[in-house]
Symmetry: C2
């Protein structure tokens, strides 16, 4: 049988109320009484029941997170950061993934209406943002972790990173190396992050009077390779490659080497994300602060939950350029 607050109260010779006060650190009681209650608790091995607490109090101590898929490195990179800070604040995180699209969303909002959790984190995904916006109307705090920068209009509290500035910094770097004819190996264009990376990169080059050549790819090594092979076959002249992620950058390097070109002498290559693979292949890349984004999002949500809501409405964690051999010397 479970030890309840009533048992403790009886054993300590006080009322349930007093025990509850001890638990929640409310003042208004003798230190003598408090320590007596505390001793009773440890003696009986009492642990407050989560169900009871949740039922009596407003908060459940659980947050929900809606993610596109746990298998995406981007998602797996962000979540640990969020878990880390929620952990210290005694909040749990339940994961909902959108594999069965509408059905998953239905279930998610069902839980929302049932008040299973008292705040929501959303890892953004094309096609769900409008739905997420509608969630915001109901009065539960929400923070979006976005793979693109907020266009200012939507105004959902969010955490994002600087795709634009990161790509621009990379462009400046390549430009400083004298590379004037870049090839962009893009990711799927429906992703906002890809549009931003292309834009940020292209802007720097067009301002300098050069125009990048853009080829679409799919975020995979094979498609990166294919894109470069196509460019070579088409006789496109380029002295640098900016791939929208590290995998396709690696594919690009392979294609170039097989064509007898050297990296970085003939062609400099850079990627995005700065995954471990990039370090191992000596690939210049733009690091995304995934872990920090997770931390920031969780912190913002917690801030809103506690009510003071004094934190920032939205936050942008900057990327960082990591220069390695593939563009270096």
């Amino acid at each position: 049988m479970r030890v309840t607050i009533t048992d403790v109260a009886a054993h300590a010779g006080v009322s349930k109320t007093t025990v509850s006060r001890v638990l929640n650190g409310r003042g208004e009681l003798h230190e003598a009484t408090a320590s007596r209650v505390r001793r009773a608790m440890t003696e009986m091995g009492y642990r407050p029941s989560a169900r009871g607490v949740a039922s009596g109090r407003a908060r459940t101590g659980v947050l929900g997170v809606l993610v596109p898929s746990l298998a995406w490195p981007w998602v797996a990179g962000v979540l640990p950061g969020a878990v880390e800070v929620l952990d210290t604040e005694d909040y749990g995180l339940v994961v909902f993934s959108c594999n069965r699209h509408d059905e998953s969303l239905r279930r998610f909002s069902e839980h929302l209406r049932a008040s299973t959790f008292d705040g929501i984190l959303v890892v953004s995904q094309e096609g769900t943002t409008d739905y997420v916006g509608s969630l915001h109307t109901r009065s539960r705090p929400i923070v979006v972790i976005d793979d693109r920068e907020n266009e200012g209009a939507v105004t959902l509290p969010s955490v994002s990173t600087t795709n634009r500035a990161g790509a621009a910094a990379l462009a400046a770097h390549l430009l400083s190396l004298g590379r004037t004819r870049p090839l962009i190996v893009s990711g799927p264009e429906r992703f906002g992050c890809c549009q931003e990376r292309t834009a940020g990169f292209a802007e720097v080059y067009t301002e300098a009077g050069f125009s990048p050549y853009i080829l679409p790819a799919e975020f995979t090594a094979a498609s990166g390779r294919a894109a470069v092979e196509l460019a070579l076959a088409d006789g496109v002249v380029f002295d640098a490659v900016f791939a929208h992620n590290d995998l396709s950058a690696v594919g690009a390097v392979d294609a170039l080497r097989e064509a007898g070109l050297t990296v970085p002498d003939d062609v400099a290559v850079a990627g995005f994300d700065d995954v471990p693979l990039a370090a191992e292949r000596g690939l210049t890349s733009v690091r995304q602060p995934l872990h920090e984004m997770g931390r920031a999002a969780a912190t913002m949500l917690l801030d809103r939950l506690t009510g003071n809501g004094s934190g920032p409405h939205s936050q942008v964690i900057p990327t960082a350029l990591t220069v390695r051999a593939s563009t270096g010397g």
Copy 2:
């Protein structure tokens, strides 16, 4: 103000009990009454409160999962499978990772004692298995997703895969190609899976009268490359490489090519895991059924929760050998 079951009962002219019966699909009532209640529910937009349900019922509808780290591909590969089946059964999954070792475990067991969730999934990790064993004594169902095969003794319900047989199948494949001098590029030896892979592979070769040369590595491309370079420098003669994961296999391939050797003619190379990278690099690999393992574990846990417990005590999902160009012709 929230619509409660009492409101619905009043509106439908029945008792709370009856409404509850409708909700839970118990029989024992007129279809006429049931539909009247259902109509009342939709009219009033009633959603049962998760708090109320959890408090009234024994089950919370939430399962806890303890993982080493969300960032590990192995973990990220397994979880989606589990989430998939839990989703359909209306169970949530709260994630606990062990980044802050003891502290994390303490928090986890705290939640356990507080009955926050009614079942636990554990993704195994060296150093926590003993702790997890102690959890089992308390009466909450538990299923372990193991990266190694259970040695029969421990008897925690578990899901694992055939590291041994998978490595053995690969050995047989290489043997059938006439490769008699294999090099094993191992992962960290403290991992049970590595010991098993080495054992399964070596057994086949020693039975055939050959003995593999073993070099330790770290599951990274760089360490795989370093291992092969070391072997070459030491004058080790080998015609095949079995790397304990795909990353180190890719590193091995790179080292071989740079040494002027061709794959697979001079040296056949195979990896383990069969991640996307393996397919892209044409690497023969042993596929781990991560998704299926997640599904199986969740199914087993659910089975135990519903009480019938008729399912298997432990389950081994077999690996599958995928032959590609790196060993092919």
